[in-house]
């Protein structure tokens, strides 16, 4: 064994060959046992989810506020346990994997935190680096490569408070790249970005798809979902539809998912 070489770095659990990236079997989650005024029965935030997502697929998750999109992401990421049912990522339960990247909504990030762009991207590496170890040369090289790939190489030494919305999104994508993520969960990443910036972000996702990275992206933008995704999941506590865009966005599905709340111009 050579000195200085990383030997026992925890890379998360192995992937089952041939297993789908993500599979859910009758998953119920977010049980609220308390009876609240006006509701007849206790409810789950998510009910009876059964679906699978294959490697490299790009899925838009669409649904009204409170449909359970964030709960769904937390279950997939393994930070929330379902009350019932089975979740598998590459053939195993989610909580052993470090290949799942969750990119939070931008307004949930403390942009005043004293870190630079490269500090944030390096955070993606610490699962690979392991406890009590310092980032090495190869980790910094990975960080620089990740920033280069999202077109943010020039931002490395900037404080995160100095970034535009599009740059913020690029940095978090770079962090997911540095993490060597194979399943990317993006929570409304396009909100508040102008159209050219949205296109640039989608271009980065196209690039990731070539590496077989699977992307689940929560959005309110039905046009974007229809144009740039393989499949659309209409979610309203249950999976209303999980089909190709043309089928998923049929009027009866939308009515079912949104009730009467969708106003077409």
């Amino acid at each position: 064994m050579t000195q200085g070489k990383r030997i026992a770095a925890p890379h998360g659990i192995a992937h089952e060959p041939g297993a789908p990236t993500l599979e859910m079997d009758d998953v119920w989650a977010g049980y609220n046992g308390r009876l609240t005024a006006g509701s007849a029965a206790p409810r789950h935030a998510l009910e009876a989810l059964t679906f699978r997502v294959e490697r490299g697929e790009r899925v838009a998750i669409v649904g009204p506020n409170g449909a359970g999109k964030s709960t769904l992401f937390k279950i997939i990421a393994g930070t929330l346990r379902p009350d019932r049912g089975r979740v598998t990522i590459f053939g195993h339960g989610p909580d052993g994997h470090i290949c799942i990247a969750y990119v939070p909504q931008r307004n949930l990030v403390d942009w005043n935190f004293p870190v630079t762009v490269e500090d944030v991207v390096m955070m993606g590496r610490i699962g690979q680096i392991g406890l009590l170890r310092r980032p090495g040369k190869s980790d910094w090289a990975t960080v620089r490569a990740a920033l280069g790939r999202v077109g943010a190489a020039g931002l490395a030494h900037k404080h995160i408070g100095e970034l535009s919305g599009g740059q913020q999104q690029r940095v978090f994508l770079a962090r997911a790249l540095a993490q060597e993520a194979e399943l990317l969960l993006l929570d409304e990443p396009l909100n508040g970005l102008d159209i050219p910036t949205q296109d640039a972000i989608m271009g980065i996702l196209d690039d990731l798809r070539r590496d077989g990275v699977t992307v689940l992206l929560a959005t309110h933008d039905l046009d974007m979902a229809a144009e740039r995704f393989d499949r659309i999941m209409l979610l309203n506590r249950r999976v209303v539809a999980f089909e190709s865009p043309a089928t998923a966005l049929r009027a009866e599905n939308l009515l079912h998912a949104y009730g009467g709340h969708l106003h077409h111009p």
Partner: protein
């Protein structure tokens, strides 16, 4: 020069200066995490809840740090468990424990004859009464705190900035959160004789808050905070010597003065259109 050297002819002043410097470094570095994670109230509460432990050690003639450490660890575990397992809001749960234990400590102390002098020492510190063995214990505990902050640097950084990332990278978040609470408890023990229970919060958050105006990166924020902490401690001892004021409050007043100075400067600079990187106050 003799202004600086004169006080050094007294051994208790030298010990006080060393103690103030140790506390300045340890509290100010850990304080950065307290400020970034919004744990100021928790830190204040923990400083108060250790009082019964300190009083018991005092009454039994044990080293104060032993009682404080036991109580600090119990508080860290208790607060952690309470917030995880009850429907109480965190600040309410902390408030209940904090006031109750503080009252218990004061009540036990009041059993003694010279209650008011003892109480003053616990509340506001007794920097000039630091013994050599106190100093060694403070330095040893302080070293342990700094070593652990260094060892778990990247984990604490991620846990503070993005708890969800920490969870998806499968970091031992519970362990790290308890460890941070324990570090706060130990740090409070280290600082007890310098600033006392009532002023503890100032030495934990004021230098770190000041540093947050001055730098945009965590390591430099820790370094600046430590420098401010050490300067406040040392200058406070001198101020105490020459102005004949209580040492604990003197240390805190120096730190507060630096904070106000830096705050004023950053406001002036922003008015003048100079871009300041971490405009932390604007976000709050």
């Amino acid at each position: 020069m003799s202004f600086l050297l004169d006080p050094l002819q007294y051994d208790f002043i030298v010990r006080a200066l060393l103690a103030a410097a140790v506390v300045g470094v340890v509290c100010s570095v850990l304080g950065v995490y307290i400020v970034l994670r919004g744990m100021a109230f928790l830190g204040d509460a923990m400083a108060h809840t250790i009082l019964p432990g300190v009083v018991v050690a005092f009454l039994l003639g044990w080293p104060l740090a032993v009682g404080a450490l036991v109580m600090g660890v119990l508080t860290a575990l208790g607060i952690g468990a309470l917030t995880e397992r009850t429907s109480l809001k965190e600040d309410t749960a902390i408030g209940v424990i904090f006031a109750g234990f503080f009252a218990l400590g004061v009540a036990m102390l009041s059993l003694r004859g010279n209650y008011s002098i003892d109480l003053a020492h616990f509340l506001f510190g007794n920097l000039l009464g630091v013994s050599t063995s106190d100093l060694i214990l403070m330095a040893a505990l302080g070293f342990v705190v700094l070593a652990l902050i260094f060892l778990f640097y990247k984990e604490f950084l991620v846990l503070s900035f993005d708890p969800l990332l920490a969870a998806t990278l499968r970091l031992p978040a519970r362990f790290l959160n308890y460890l941070l609470l324990m570090l706060i408890a130990v740090t409070i023990v280290v600082a007890l004789q310098v600033v006392g229970v009532a002023l503890m919060l100032a030495i934990l958050v004021t230098p770190a808050a000041t540093a947050s105006f001055l730098t945009g990166r965590l390591p430099s924020m820790m370094a600046v905070s430590a420098a401010i902490g050490v300067f406040s401690g040392v200058a406070g001892v001198y101020a105490s010597y020459y102005l004949n004021i209580a040492s604990g409050p003197a240390v805190v007043l120096v730190a507060t003065a630096i904070f106000l100075l830096v705050l004023g400067l950053s406001v002036v600079r922003r008015r003048a259109g100079v871009a300041t990187v971490p405009a932390r106050l604007e976000a709050q």
